[in-house]
């Protein structure tokens, strides 16, 4: 059933792009579509990480705050020590993100607090720390080193590195989610926690790993965000966690855990990116844009939840006839 759903949703995204392209042909120029993918890169990576968490029946509301804190910290490091090589900065960003994610995971696993409560708390904590670290001011482009700003923009085979990062992350998730024991444990831990325990999966530990994954990706995106907008401050990625969760939900990741695919999450993020980037281009009044993008999300979710129910019935029928 799953591949069909992703193909169908892929078709919906294709039709959406085609419709916008019909209204405004310049939107579907290859160069612009590549730009669109580049603009959606961060959302794609975060959607995949968020999917991992949601699969285990948890949610991570702190990703945007993680971006702000990590972004501010690495920008400060770069401003103070411009000589530190960029790959090291990227590792540092991912490392800070990992620590922040591990803290969320530990609270869920060891302390047993529901993830929505934990991450609602750390959302404020991380953003508060970003404010303290930056002193409430912005670290702007000319304070950062040229190398720091240039790397995600540097082109390789015609695509900016930012897009390549997204492609690599997609590839890693595609292999790891289906092909590794831990990857399959995410589905088991969220799909049927009781059964998972009987098969020897530590549900809490699996959730902890999911939060570590989410934090690491968010931290890495903190660096990308700072360079893409060439500014780092407490307002970075404000409210972006909702875009990320919306992308997952649009892409068919079940908020009750256990259901979701890499292709679905990627398509969900692209759908969201197309809607956001297309609305300014087609003739939609700026005053209607928010309502229109909200309606598009709701429509996608209704279509998805309908399909989820049908899939359930079908399995029952097969089981009955077997």
């Amino acid at each position: 059933m799953r591949p069909n759903r992703d193909i169908l949703f892929g078709a919906v995204v294709f039709v959406l792009i085609a419709v916008v392209g019909f209204i405004r042909p310049s939107f579907v120029w290859p160069q612009n579509l590549a730009g669109l993918f580049n603009d959606t890169s961060v959302l794609i990576m975060l959607a995949l990480a968020q999917m991992t968490v949601i699969l285990t029946k948890c949610i991570d509301l702190s990703v945007a705050a993680n971006i702000a804190l990590t972004g501010v910290l690495v920008a400060l490091v770069n401003a103070a020590f411009p000589g530190v090589p960029v790959p090291l900065i990227m590792l540092l960003a991912a490392g800070i993100g990992l620590v922040l994610g591990a803290f969320n995971g530990a609270m869920v696993w060891l302390v047993g607090i529901p993830s929505i409560v934990v991450t609602l708390g750390t959302l404020s904590i991380y953003r508060g720390l970003a404010f303290v670290a930056s002193g409430g001011t912005s670290i702007v482009g000319h304070q950062m080193s040229p190398e720091f700003l240039a790397l995600p923009r540097a082109e390789f085979l015609g695509l900016p590195m930012m897009s390549w990062f997204a492609i690599v992350v997609i590839a890693i998730f595609a292999v790891a989610i289906r092909g590794t024991r831990t990857g399959r444990a995410f589905y088991a831990a969220g799909g049927n926690p009781t059964a998972a325990v009987y098969t020897g999966i530590d549900v809490g530990r699996t959730q902890f790993i999911a939060f570590c994954v989410s934090g690491t990706v968010a931290g890495f995106c903190g660096y990308l965000w700072a360079t893409r907008f060439s500014i780092a401050n407490v307002d970075m990625a404000n409210g972006f966690e909702l875009d990320v969760i919306a992308s997952c939900v649009i892409g068919g990741v079940s908020i009750s855990g256990g259901i979701g695919t890499v292709a679905g999450a990627v398509l969900g993020a692209i759908f969201f990116g197309v809607v956001r980037n297309a609305l300014p281009v087609v003739y939609i009044s700026p005053f209607w844009q928010l309502a229109v993008s909200g309606a598009a999300i709701l429509a996608a979710v209704i279509v998805n939840s309908g399909r989820e129910k049908r899939a359930g019935r079908l399995i029952l029928k097969e089981a009955a006839s077997a």
Binding site: F131, S134, G136, T137, F229, D235, A237, P280, V281
Partner: protein, 331 residues
């Protein structure tokens, strides 16, 4: 019952006296800004502290919400009144939403003025404009016209939020006065909500929608910065120019790259200085704001008030390659 009531009133009065401004030796002036972490307002606070030093017996409370919302500012106004400040100088996120809270503050004896982004007449004693709306609108058009270099071209506006008082007033002037610059063809106004992500998407949208777009006017610090980033990323430097109002420290890279050869702003340090001086003079009853009257801004001279009790500080100042290095160090 009656005893309880009088007890309650008595203790309320006692409390009111305890926090009443009269008990404080220094004049407490709150600089309530749109949001913290904003370079422009940090510079204004610098000016406010400068004025406080000159005046001697002034404490500056520099505050604002984390996000630029009227709700956040209303909460802070109520807290400031409870703290017993003598004066509030506010840059409003919404001209009307703050009025009830500020009215209540004035009823409690607090001097209220607005600066930078004004409050409706009922909610303040005077409004200090950084510059005159007319001058700012015209300055933006003039910069756009100069960037077109005599040729005719499409010009679009990237604003902040659709409810921002000052932005909308400047845009009105630009629409009205566009005829004075025949080579400027105003085609559209979009809103980036002072959000990096949305401003970037809107700037990209403009470039796609108008193939003949030559200039983007962004009269907002976030918008002008993100529009410049788009022009650089899409390798359109020299084809599409960005101008408007921005912070020299944030724009220096974009002036040097050529994406935004010139832009304007007033001096926020002076603005904070002037707002503090005016608030001090009004709070200490040295001066009163009257229509047609003048108020002292200390070393900056005098501001003349119109019927709306508003007055401009100075005309906006243009930054370009010749002076950006110097000013980017200031703010």
């Amino acid at each position: 019952m009656k005893f309880l009531k009088s007890l309650a009133i008595g203790s309320a009065l006692a409390l009111a006296f305890a926090v009443s401004p009269a008990s404080a030796a220094n004049v407490k002036i709150a600089l309530l800004v749109k949001n913290l972490g904003n370079g422009f307002f940090d510079a204004a606070a610098k000016g406010a502290n400068e004025a406080a030093k000159e005046l001697g017996n002034v404490d500056i409370i520099y505050t604002g919400p984390a996000k630029p919302t009227p709700e956040g500012q209303i909460d802070i106004i109520n807290q400031l009144v409870a703290q017993g400040v003598n004066a509030i100088a506010v840059s409003a996120n919404d001209a009307d939403a703050l009025v009830p809270a500020l009215k209540k503050a004035m009823e409690r004896g607090v001097t209220v003025i607005s600066f930078d982004s004004g409050v409706s007449k009922d909610g303040r004693q005077m409004n200090l404009l950084a510059s005159a709306t007319q001058l700012i609108g015209d300055q933006n058009l003039k910069m756009a016209s100069d960037l077109l270099n005599g040729q005719k071209g499409d010009v679009a506006i990237l604003s902040a939020s659709s409810t921002a008082t000052n932005q909308n007033a400047w845009i009105e002037v630009m629409k009205k006065d566009a005829g004075m610059f025949p080579n400027v063809n105003l085609v559209d106004t979009v809103y980036g909500d002072d959000n990096d992500d949305k401003s970037l998407a809107e700037a990209k949208g403009l470039i796609q929608k108008y193939p003949n777009l030559k200039v983007i006017i962004a009269p907002t610090t976030v918008g002008i910065r993100q529009a410049s980033v788009v022009v650089e990323d899409q390798k359109l430097v020299g084809k599409v120019f960005v101008t408007g109002l921005g912070l020299p420290s944030e724009m220096i890279t974009h002036v040097k790259s050529g994406a935004s050869p010139s832009f304007a702003l007033w001096n926020p340090i002076d603005l904070g200085y002037a707002a503090t001086t005016i608030a001090y003079n009004l709070a200490t009853k040295k001066e009163t704001a009257t229509a047609g009257g003048e108020l002292s801004m200390g070393k900056l001279g005098k501001v003349k008030l119109d019927d709306d009790l508003s007055g401009p500080m100075a005309p906006p100042f243009v930054f370009n390659a010749s002076n950006i290095d110097e000013f980017s160090k200031v703010y």
